[in-house]
Subunit: 438 residues, 2 copies
């Protein structure tokens, strides 16, 4: 990859994680302290928790105290359901216990659960020089200064200033006259997806988190948002593939819980798909008369499903990143109808060509080949248009019903379109082939 | 959302973007300067470019100079293919033109294309106090201090220190003795996905970008990585839905180019799906004898496709976030085979129950109902196992062939499984029903 690792090759977490957990624990104990610390800090919360679980209770405290309070709180939350969760809080020092205890009161997917309670603070009445000296005192707590927050004696946020604002003014100027008193902030109970959207909207590096009285509790920083964005994308992709969201890495999740996560949706889709058997049974007499109709059933229904998956994916993703909102449903439909027609027409040409070529080459379809080709072509236009239309509308309907639009997974859309695709196909066949094959 | 906007309600980019572009230009001109500046800075690169295109050439310079050099370079790159692209560089001031010109030499999806050339720098021989004074001089260029970089006279990177390191030591101590000379850096031509992985591995806020001679060219900061992560996830999701990656927001992309992006994959899938017609034609005589077999075709093949989509999605996402590598293929298969068997068994029970209940209630399947139920149940186990197996293996095969594993989209896997699912189904039927229905 062309970058310098700060440790030896064994420290690369990805390679290291291939080892069984006991071997990892043994290696961690064998490393020099600063190497071991660095390795531990680089691990994901899940893997930190797993290691702690396999260490002796007497060893756990040192590792836990190594973490900043928001990460320690995440780890303790990840240990939910593990017997040793309660002991973990006791292992922290006094300040840590207070900070982590406060963070644990928040849900992990809310602004309060994401925030770091350590941030650079000044008083509005300080001069620029006094503020710099005061920041120096805070240096052991605050690794990086994103922004500097001016608080009153009740911890209420009065204004925000940047490092540049503070260094770019006369030394004697008061913070009050430098700071911006209009600022973006977020309430502690706001959902992490909304916090990520706020970062995308504002391009800020950190956003202050306030409680209901306007007191500042911490900052959410953009580096935590990277994890949120990746996590939300994983969830959307997993839902999109028609499975429940996994709550652990793929390789770590137990076989039984993996089967349960997948069986639920698979059974729902299967029950929906049973309707195709009902629909097909309705057309059994048609099929008995013209078996050739059955030959094209997979082709027709899968084309509708594929077109529907495309439309649903694009709309779901555009919704997730805020490009498309509920109010846009009509604009989306207005785009998808001509798109569906055009895509259907392309497949219709391909399908009809295939039939007519096979007919010319091997008389594969007998005297009614042209009528069969017409049936397939018109059905393809119908199912692709219908698939595109319903695939793009479904995310809106789900969202309007208060459900997650990402549930409109490719398999879900395909199943929905399969039944209606059969009805379209056999109806078209009924009209075109009546009197000849049917 | 419970947060304070720093401007009036009209400044919210999402609502504002609903307006036609001419109305947006008019509103931008009517705003007070600091409001207009803030609004412009909040927009995505694409929307900034679109606005500039609709402003008078004489107005463009002021807006472009408002942007930091990496964002200005992105905007100019986004204008590729637009007639006014060349004029844009000339609108910058001298320093800006040099900086942006250097950035434009990089591809947008490489470390060099992501980086900001403005960062906090010190000399190793300075004392802590001199370094702080020197940082003060740089304050008009550097908004936020992520880390402080110690460079020699040839701009070679010697060491890295944090704000905390500098403020936490005696005032007279030399930077050389505070800085860390082991650091993580990235070569300028490294792909942005690898840079994002490096941020995930190291939890750093900024990573220095070096050229082949070890000279420091800039820093990539974690806030740019948020966009990279979201962009890569969008690409994966779009590929996963069986469409080419869109190069503009969903609502902005032209209808014709939208159709082209989707028609390609849809046609490939259709041609693959034509094999189902060939397969079905092989079994036409079986269907003519036992039309009931046709009734269950959609149910059987879609169950295989759904199981395959699930497996492929989980493996693709686990690969994308680095949880699963090529070396893990056997461990994955070893998990997926029992999973597929279990899922197939669940659907087999559901399917057989459906047939036996309908038979008991309405004699729907005649004297051979039990044999039909057995055919469906065994076929379901076969196609679900096969779908799961091939869906989980396909991303590995694509990656080994140097292709993007995310191309193993739900529709692609479903199409692949459809043909083989038919063969499995009719083979099972051939064995069980031979001598009775067939």
């Amino acid at each position: 990859m062309g970058y310098t690792e700060s440790g030896g090759p064994d420290l690369h977490p990805q390679r290291w994680l291939d080892l069984p957990v006991d071997a990892r624990v043994a290696q961690l104990r064998a490393l020099r302290k600063h190497e071991a610390d660095e390795l531990f800090l680089r691990l994901s919360t899940y893997h930190q928790m797993e290691l702690l679980l396999h260490l002796l209770p007497s060893e756990r405290g040192a590792w836990l105290r190594l973490l900043p309070p928001d990460d320690a709180a995440d780890l303790i939350q990840a240990a939910a359901g593990q017997k040793f969760q309660e002991d973990l809080v006791d292992l922290l020092d006094d300040i840590g216990r207070r900070e982590v205890g406060a963070l644990l009161a928040y849900q992990q997917d809310r602004a309060g659960g994401l925030m770091n309670p350590r941030f650079a603070r000044v008083r509005p009445e300080m001069t620029a020089d006094e503020a710099i000296a005061y920041l120096r005192l805070q240096a052991s707590d605050v690794e990086t200064i994103y922004y500097i927050y001016a608080l009153d004696h009740d911890q209420r946020l009065l204004g925000v200033l940047s490092f540049r604002d503070l260094f770019n003014c006369p030394r004697e100027q008061a913070v009050r006259t430098i700071m911006r008193s209009e600022y973006v902030s977020v309430f502690q109970d706001v959902d992490q997806e909304a916090v990520a959207a706020l970062f995308a909207d504002t391009n800020l590096l950190a956003i202050p988190v306030l409680d209901e009285d306007g007191r500042m509790k911490g900052i959410v920083t953009v580096d935590d948002i990277v994890d949120v964005v990746a996590e939300e994308a994983s969830e959307d992709i997993q839902k999109f593939g028609g499975t429940e969201v996994l709550d652990a890495p793929y390789m770590e999740i137990g076989l039984w819980s993996m089967i349960r996560k997948r069986a639920g949706w698979l059974c729902i889709l299967f029950v929906g798909e049973l309707l195709t058997a009902t629909a097909m049974a309705r057309y059994e007499r048609d099929i008995a008369r013209a078996v050739v109709l059955a030959v094209f059933v997979p082709l027709i229904i899968s084309s509708g499903g594929n077109a529907g998956s495309q439309a649903a994916t694009l709309v779901i993703r555009a919704m997730a990143i805020g490009e498309v909102g509920l109010r846009d449903w009509f604009r989306v439909i207005r785009r998808e109808i001509p798109t569906g027609l055009a895509l259907g027409a392309v497949l219709a040409v391909l399908g009809a060509t295939r039939i007519l070529v096979w007919q010319a080459a091997a008389n594969a379809y007998g005297e009614h080949a042209v009528k069969i080709a017409a049936t397939i072509a018109i059905s393809l236009i119908g199912v692709v248009l219908w698939g595109t239309f319903s695939g793009s509308l479904l995310p809106f309907i789900l969202r309007m019903a208060g459900l997650d639009p990402a549930s409109a997974s490719a398999p879900f859309v395909a199943t929905m379109v399969d039944v209606s695709g059969l009805v379209i196909y056999f109806s078209v066949a009924g009209v075109i082939l009546r009197g000849t094959l049917l």
